[in-house]
């Protein structure tokens, strides 16, 4: 029987992320710089990459983590209140998003999935624009060129090819910026992600593959996608990889900086596996109690990405009342702005449906628009014109 639990061969069917690595290349253990208890541990290779992070900057990273958790909580609340149609929570994945996004330059370009809303925040996307697509007011929330971040990709893995192509463009331009693409553990099974690695390796393009291994693809555990560690996939394409504690903002930053530097200087692609955990449901439409254990959740709660930075700040004596108040105020302000921006967002006009399909006039569509506007005009009250029950 070909169930995923009966692997009896040479390859042990380990638990998520815990299986032994058979093939070097990804480092034998997780890169970690801050323990769950909040202790700064030194790492021979990666300390250097974050030695410039000052206490003040550590404070800002902490603020970022708190703020994006707050954005996430507020958006979840907005969904529960019917203001958003859907929301994909990032709870638990804050460090992976902040640590990587805060390593980027403005002229780097991000191609992400739907879950990297904390990255969008770092890129400077307007708060209301982050939720616009989830409110159903647009297919995408922002102009990618204003923040150098493509709008969220829903087709699993498709964006990894876009990033690779963008990186090929960077090469052709002779620039030293980098494309970074975010995707999940589940995405690694899609052909597109593997083909992206083929192209990135062949052309030695400046692209960083950032895999947020949050252990689940909706209801499917990561071990269904791979019996071995996700980071080990990259070596088979000739791409170096790093496996990093995704709940450790400093470690993620160190790994991302290393990868970015390599890419900037002609060293080609790098694959980062950030080992983290999706603490919430897949989206607000999902019920994870149907498929996962409460114990697993508890284990991961103990590795919370915010708690450990808080612990570190405390050890360093930086967790002053004033500091905490500043962070709380910032989070409150962001949440208020998000909510206000969301609920006051203007609704689209009916004929917007025809806009931007093409960049120049199209005879088929123009005729349909003409006909539909006549149709709308044929009603006294255009609002009644499009209910399923009908107006007549």
């Amino acid at each position: 029987m070909f169930t995923d639990e009966l692997g009896q061969g040479g390859i042990p069917a380990g638990g998520p992320g815990d299986s032994a690595g058979h093939h070097g290349g990804a480092g034998e253990s997780l890169v970690q710089l801050i323990t769950p208890g909040g202790e700064r541990v030194s790492h021979p290779q990666y300390d250097a990459w974050v030695q410039d992070v000052s206490d003040e900057q550590l404070g800002f990273l902490y603020e970022d983590l708190v703020v994006i958790r707050r954005i996430d909580t507020e958006a979840t609340a907005l969904q529960r209140q019917g203001e958003l149609g859907l929301w994909p929570p990032l709870l638990g994945q804050e460090a992976a998003q902040i640590g990587s996004a805060r390593s980027l330059r403005d002229d780097d370009f991000v191609f992400s999935s739907y879950r990297e809303n904390g990255v969008a925040y770092c890129r400077g996307v307007d708060l209301a624009d982050i939720v616009k697509v989830w409110r159903g007011n647009a297919s995408a929330g922002w102009d990618p060129y204003t923040v150098n971040m493509a709008t969220p990709q829903i087709i699993i893995g498709a964006q990894t090819l876009h990033a690779t192509g963008y990186a090929m463009g960077i090469q052709n331009d002779g620039a030293d910026s980098v494309a970074i693409t975010y995707f999940g553990d589940g995405a690694t099974s899609e052909g597109d992600v593997n083909e992206a690695m083929v192209f990135a390796a062949s052309f030695q393009s400046p692209v960083v593959f950032f895999c947020s291994n949050n252990h689940w693809a909706i209801s499917e555990p990561v071990r269904l996608q791979s019996h071995i560690r996700i980071a080990d996939r990259a070596a088979g394409f000739g791409i170096p990889s790093i496996r990093v504690d995704g709940n450790d903002v400093l470690a993620v930053m160190a790994a991302t900086r290393e990868a970015l530097e390599r890419a900037r200087h002609g060293g080609g692609p790098t694959f980062i596996e950030a080992v983290t955990y999706r603490m919430g449901p897949h989206t607000t439409a999902d019920d994870p109690t149907r498929y996962r254990d409460a114990n697993e959740l508890e284990d991961w709660a103990a590795k919370d990405p915010i708690a450990r930075v808080k612990g570190l700040l405390e050890r360093k004596g930086l967790l002053t009342g004033q500091f905490e108040a500043r962070v709380a105020a910032k989070a409150d302000a962001v949440a208020r702005e998000l909510r206000a921006g969301c609920i006051t967002m203007p609704d689209p006009e009916p004929l917007d449906i025809f806009k931007h399909v093409y960049s120049t006039p199209n005879s088929w569509l123009d005729r349909q628009e003409d006909h539909y506007s006549r149709y709308l005009a044929s009603f006294g009250d255009p609002a009644g014109a499009h209910s399923e029950e009908g107006a007549r």
Partner: protein, 336 residues
Amino acid sequence: MTQMTFARAINSGLRKSLENDPKVILMGEDIGTLGGVFRVTDGLQKDFGKHRVVDTPLAESAIMGTAVGLAYRGYRPVVEIQFDGFVYPAFDQIVSQVAKIHYRTQGAVKMPITVRIPFGGGIGSPEHHSESPEAYFTHTSGLRVVSVSNPQDAHTMIQQAIASDDPVLFFEPKRRYHDKGEVDESIDPATALSMEKARVVAEGKDVTLVAYGPLVKTAKDAAVAAADEGVSVEVIDLRSLAPVDFATLEASVRKTGRLVITHEAGQSGGLGAEVATSITERCFYHLEAAPVRVTGFDVPYPYSKLESHHLPSLDRILDGVDRALGRPNSLSGLEG
């Protein structure tokens, strides 16, 4: 007779197929432990085991391609594509393999694969979750394509599809999953109306209104509303989209002389064009007016705040009926 939801009716049909034929095997993303994101496969893995109801890795081309291999081995795979918009990574395997292997091997290798696709809009979802890709498949020789509009058909036709030795694309109208209806689970799919036949779901004499999947309900509602205005609408549920049962349509149009066809998919190149053209070919001299299409627009499926404009509504269908009848309508005076 039991009252059950559309989703439950499919679930119960799948269960029967699993019970009746050990070669039936369900595959897809999240269909096992979770029972599918729409719970259509709820409980089936528990009852039939992980080797009959298989949670697969996240890769649609592989799901379809391994289904081909299983069919080679004598299995009857039933593949779930989680949402309409995620069928495209599997397109190559469907079009170049599933559809062609029986022809390629001169009948030696059968491909009794059923591909279940929850399709269509109206549920307020983001991009890629509301598409109507059926025309891509109705244009692909070697495939059969059906769509169901009510729980009883859903229950019966999923069993017929699985029993078919040809590949069947099975389109489920996801916005109707929670609708309830009477289902007689004792109906034998082998003797029930064949999935290849259309069904007249409301008799009428002035105009023939053709719909399938989610819009059959809307079409029936439109017929009721039209009756109030003294217009008698014959509603036909296509059920089979490839091949279309043109004999049934032709008989109706010979009677009414007028044809309206509605679907959510974009107009240009949609199934409505095939229906209109074939009916015009078959009964040109019986047609009193050009066939009328009431469809989605030629746009990517829009974001949810606009989807009610995209989807053919009762009123747009009635306006189309008026056009077919030459009654005053939104385009009156535009052309002849």
